[in-house]
Amino acid sequence: MRVPPGVSPGDFAAAIKQFEAAVGKEWVFTSDDDVELYRDSYSPFWHEEEDRVPSAAVAPDGVEQAQAIVKIANAYKIPLWTISTGRNLAYGGSSPALSGSVILDLKRMNRILEVSDKNHYALVEPGVSYFDLYRYIQEHKLKVWIDPPDPGWGSPVGNSLERGGGRGPLHDHFATVCGMEVVLPNGEVMRTGMGALPGSKTWQQYKYGFGPYVDGLFSQSNFGIVTKMGVWLLPEPEAYRDGTVMVARHDDLVPFVETLAYLYNSQIVQGTAALDSPLLTYRVSKGGGVVDLPGDISVAELERIGREQNIPYWSSELHFYGPAKVVDLQWEFTKERFSAIPGVTFKEGRSYRFPVELKDSDDVLRQALGIPNLSVFGFLGKTLGHMDFSPIVPLSGEAVFEALKVFGEVYHEMGVPPQNQFISLPWAFFPRAFVFLFGFQIMHDVEANKRNREVFRRLIEACAEHGWGEYRTHVAYMDDVANVYSYNNHAMLRLHETVKDALDPNGILSPGKSGIWPKRLRKARA
């Protein structure tokens, strides 16, 4: 049996016995076969020593059991890595940052405590998946929508704590969080926001409570174990429609994104908008890149091809939700605004009234209509999965040009051929910013994975040199990313460490999460 670093086999055996007494033998996993199930299924370290492998897993069924586990972990200094649904694929799955950690698997805590379709919120435990919440809402015929990320098997708790994103009007998931219950590293239970007031009637209705707003401290962090969370839901809208805007020339992207930003920040365009480029897709189909590579088909040449074959340079499908009359007007207004760009064209899209029974022939993204599913995995083809590189860049055309140039330089310098670049154009997952998503393929080939990790790390640096940083990252790169958020001699990371040391002196919760290490495991910074 593997033991956590710095823990003696005797102590570990004693801790395991106590975990078993706390949750039942059945819910403590120590055999190699069972522990294997907590590895990252999309690991960039296949067949390497560096692969993040836990020593055991323990699965409580309630907050008291979670508290008991934390107390035992404190007594023996056992690192616990918390997961809710543990489907954090592309960012580490259910694996820890520190090999030998014990996974604290909250999947069994799967109660839906409340769903309101009068004021549109839910209170859930960590093991509740988007599928579960959707099913509950359907069964109870409630008039609310959830906002699932592309894969529906994750959870409102896990995904929101990672500050993930969805497709509908509530796509910025951490922004929908309202009230948490947290087990602190000393085993005490705390409630945030209005939940700090005993008998509060507005825990899921008002986020901020009184005094400093602390919920953010528990996102992408290792300061506590979230055991309940409020999330806001969308009142079922009357209607949905979408439409596509297309512009012809390369430089049109500047006014295009400026217009998009106006509409998006005014909440006229509501769903997540993704930038697309039919001409760059054409270039890729000819073996070229999305990014700018030396010797590839030039911008001028692409524009000529675009004119001849009537292919737009840039486009975006925009999504509208609300009263039928209003969404029609929003689309009208959107077209009016974009019409300032010479040569702009529009394509009418889909239109639905709710409730609706979708047919197989409806090609709409189910998740954009609040319906969780796993269809996104269809894009993965015959692959073993991927890890995501996801830098935030400004919501502007100029930033996209610069990013494609910088990424092109890195890829050229590192000799990455276009067919291995796996970059898509940026999305507006979050208000007022773009995020690029690169899906690095995972292979059962040690050398290829090593090479990809080097490219990944080079991209982190290159982005930082240009003022861009990742919105979240795979467990393999948490130190690298934390390291570039270094303003004023790492003032922010030093604050995290101060908080860590104060709240968790034994360093038991998720060591290494977001580059935050407890004192006893902290390495000197360069």
Binding site: D34, Y42, A59, W153, D363, S375, G378, L380, K382, H444
Partner: protein
């Protein structure tokens, strides 16, 4: 799945050693159906947007929908669920317990000819 070759050998071994016939248990099959609907149908079901079915169809597998197969064996199903394949990840026991997995296997082998 530390060693991909060992995994392949294991797979072959298991395919050859099909289990002895046991009478299907209706309640077990029912339970399996429910667990399958929750965890497998989103990828292996019928209808649009089912990437497991699409992948098997692309491989030329007929039928591509697991529920229509009559050639899957319980040990093989268990290996796939606990080891994953391509982008199908492993499933933890807090998601699908061993008893749930037995039930899935009973469900997916219910039409096998013996």
């Amino acid at each position: 799945m530390k060693n991909a070759r060992a995994f392949l050998l294991l797979l072959c071994g298991v395919t050859l050693a099909a289990p002895a016939f046991a009478a299907p248990d209706e309640s077990q099959i029912d339970r399996g159906h429910r667990v399958y609907d929750k965890w497998c149908f989103p990828c292996h079901g019928t209808g649009v947007g089912k990437p497991g079915t699409e992948s098997l169809a692309a491989r030329g597998q007929k039928p591509a929908v697991l529920e229509e197969r009559t050639d899957l064996t319980a040990p093989l199903i268990k290996i796939f669920v606990r080891h994953g394949v391509l982008f199908m990840p492993t499933f933890r026991k807090t998601e699908i317990s061993d008893a749930d997995l037995d039930a899935i296997a009973a469900y997916l082998t219910r039409n096998n000819k013996h």
